[in-house]
Subunit: 313 residues, 2 copies
C-alpha cells in the first residue's frame, strides 16, 4: 500500500485534525481505554489503584510547524519541554522524567542541535525533571521532528477535563492572544505550581491547558447538556490583541478551569492572589444549561476557529 494518496478525498487532510483523532480512536478500539485513562485529556492517567497515579503525555516540535528560524534553537528546546510540562500542570500533577526522540536530516547543524539540547537542559534543571533517555534517527528531507514524552504523577486528586456543571464559574490564568507575535509561545512558564494548588481545592471541578485557542479548547471543558457563556469584555487580552486573537491564536499555555457554583468565589480569588500575587486570574463567564437563551453579547465559540493541524493542506 502506498503512503501518499492520489486523490485528495483519500488523504488525512480531508479528515482534519479532529476527524483524524476520532478515526484513530476507532482504529485502536479496545486497545485504547476511555479518558482520562486513554486518549482525550491533557495527560493519560495510569497506574494500579492504591498507588500514586501516574501521568503520561507526549508533544513534538516539528521544524516548519511549531518552530522555524525565527525561534532560537535554545528557545525551541525549552519550548519542547515546557509544552509537555503544561499538560502535566493541567492535571494538577508534577513532572518526574522525560525522554526525547529526535528524527533529523544529517545536514542539520551540530551547533543548532547543541543549542536545542541546552534549552531542554535549562528547563529540565529549572523544573527538576531529568531527561532519562531518548533516541536519534535519520529523517531525510531537511526536516527535524523532536518528540518529548513526559511522565508525571499526581500527588493527590487528578483534575480532568470532565465534571463541570451548569452554574460553575469559568476562570483563566494569565493573558490570551498574540502568543506567536510576542514570543510568549516560547517564553511562557508552565503553570505547574498553580495547577497543583488548584487540584487541592475540591471546588475546582475540571481543568485543562489552552494550546489551540480558547474558542476551540473550551468545548472540551463542557459536559453534555451545558455550554460555556463567555463575556467578550471579560477576556484578559494581551496588549494589542483583538477579541479574535484572544480566542483563536492558540499557544497560550494558560490554565482554564471551572469553579463550583456553590463555592465562595470571593474567598477563592483572594486566596489565589495571596498564593500567586503576580499571576492574573480572571473569571470570564460561566457554564449554563444548553437550553438557556443566549446573553446579548455572549461569545459563540463556533464562530471562532482555533488552530487545527492539516486544515491548510
Amino acid at each position: 500500500m502506498r503512503l501518499l494518496a492520489k486523490s485528495s478525498r483519500d488523504r488525512v487532510s480531508s479528515l482534519g485534525e479532529t476527524g483524524l483523532i476520532a478515526a484513530i480512536r476507532r482504529w485502536l478500539g479496545g486497545a485504547s481505554p476511555a479518558p482520562p485513562f486513554g486518549i482525550g485529556d491533557d495527560c493519560a492517567v495510569f497506574g494500579a489503584s492504591g498507588r500514586r497515579r501516574q501521568l503520561l503525555t507526549v508533544d513534538p516540535v516539528v521544524y516548519g510547524v511549531h518552530i522555524d528560524d525565527r525561534v532560537s534553537p535554545r528557545e525551541a528546546g525549552s519550548k519542547l519541554l515546557k509544552r509537555n510540562l503544561s499538560d502535566v500542570a493541567a492535571m494538577g500533577g508534577r513532572p518526574r522524567a522525560a525522554v526525547v526522540a529526535l528524527a533529523l536530516d544529517g545536514r542539520v547543524a551540530v551547533d543548532w542541535i547543541g543549542e536545542f539540547y541546552r534549552g531542554i537542559a535549562r528547563e529540565s534543571r529549572r523544573h527538576a525533571v531529568p531527561i532519562v533517555g531518548g533516541d536519534i534517527a535519520t529523517l531525510p528531507g531537511g526536516a527535524l521532528v523532536a518528540t518529548l514524552t513526559l511522565v508525571g504523577e499526581a500527588p493527590g486528586r487528578v483534575l480532568t477535563r470532565k465534571g463541570s456543571r451548569a452554574g460553575d464559574g469559568i476562570y483563566v490564568t494569565g493573558l490570551l492572544g498574540r502568543s506567536l507575535q510576542t514570543g510568549h509561545h516560547h517564553r511562557f512558564q508552565p503553570r505547574l505550581a498553580q495547577g497543583q494548588w488548584l487540584a487541592r481545592r475540591s471546588a475546582v471541578r475540571a481543568m485543562m491547558d489552552l494550546s489551540d485557542g480558547l474558542a476551540k479548547d473550551i468545548g472540551a471543558l463542557a459536559s453534555p447538556g451545558i455550554r460555556p457563556c463567555l463575556s467578550p469584555s471579560l477576556l484578559p487580552r494581551r496588549a494589542g490583541a483583538t477579541l479574535r486573537e484572544a480566542l483563536c491564536d492558540g499557544e497560550d499555555y494558560e490554565l482554564v478551569f471551572s469553579l463550583s457554583a456553590g463555592a465562595d468565589a470571593g474567598a477563592f480569588e483572594r486566596n489565589w492572589r495571596r498564593a500567586f500575587p503576580r499571576i492574573r486570574l480572571t473569571r470570564i463567564g460561566s457554564f449554563v444549561a444548553r437550553g438557556n437563551p443566549s446573553a446579548p453579547d455572549e461569545i459563540d465559540p463556533d464562530q471562532y476557529l482555533g488552530y487545527e493541524h492539516f486544515k491548510s493542506t
Copy 2:
C-alpha cells in the same frame, strides 16, 4: 541560527550516531543522570526507592528509514510497538502503557494510517499494553515519523547492560542475520517472557537486546578490562546468512546476556529448554580479560560495522 549547515564538517552527519549521542550527553550535562537512570541502556530506570522500578523507552519508525512500501502499514504499526517491547524485555521488565506521537504529511492516505493503527492495536492486545494517548502534527514533505514511548515496570531485579566479568559465558536467543530480507524485522516476537525469566536468575549478570547487529551491540555488554571472545562457528545464523550478515545486519531483536562463570551452565540450559522449548538458546563465547591473547578463530567485532544512523549522509 540556520537549521542546516552549509559546510559538511558542521553537520551532524560528521559526528555519526555514536558521536551525536555522546555530544547530546555533554549538552544535557547534569540534566541527564548516569545509566541505567539515564541515557545508555535499553530503557531508563526511574522511580523512588522502595517502590517498584519504572522503565521508560522510546523508539520511532521513520518512513524511508525503518519502513517503506515493501512493509505493509499493519506490519509497520506492529513493528513500532514491538521495537519498544523488545527494549523492556531486555531489562527483564513488563510493559504497562504506551503513547504514540505521529507527525505526517497531509497527503498521507487515510487507509494507510488506519492499517498502521490496527497493527499497533493488534500487538497492544497481544501484550496487554494499552495505548493511552498520543499526538498528531503536520510534517510537510511527504514523510511520516511515528514515535512510540513505552512505560514498563520491573517486577523484581532490573537487568542492565553492566556487570559482566571475565569468564562469564555469552548467550544469545534465536537466530541472527538477514532480518530485512526475511521479514523477521517486522514478524519477530519481543522476548518479554524470556527477559523476565532471565532477570529472576541471579547468575545472569547483564543483558541487552540486539538492534544494530551483534558486532556493534556486544561492546555495550562488556565492562572495562574485559572483551567478548566470540566463536564464528557457534553463531546461530538464520538460513542463508553469512557470518558478516549475522554480525552486522541488525534488527535481530534477540536477547544477548552474560552468565556467571560460577553458574552450572548445563542446568541453566536444561531449565531454559524446559521453559522455552521452541526458542533456541546458544552459547556463542565468553568474556575474557583484555590482556588475554586472541584465540586463532576469534571474531574481532571491530572488523564488522553494525548499522549506524547518519553514516551514509
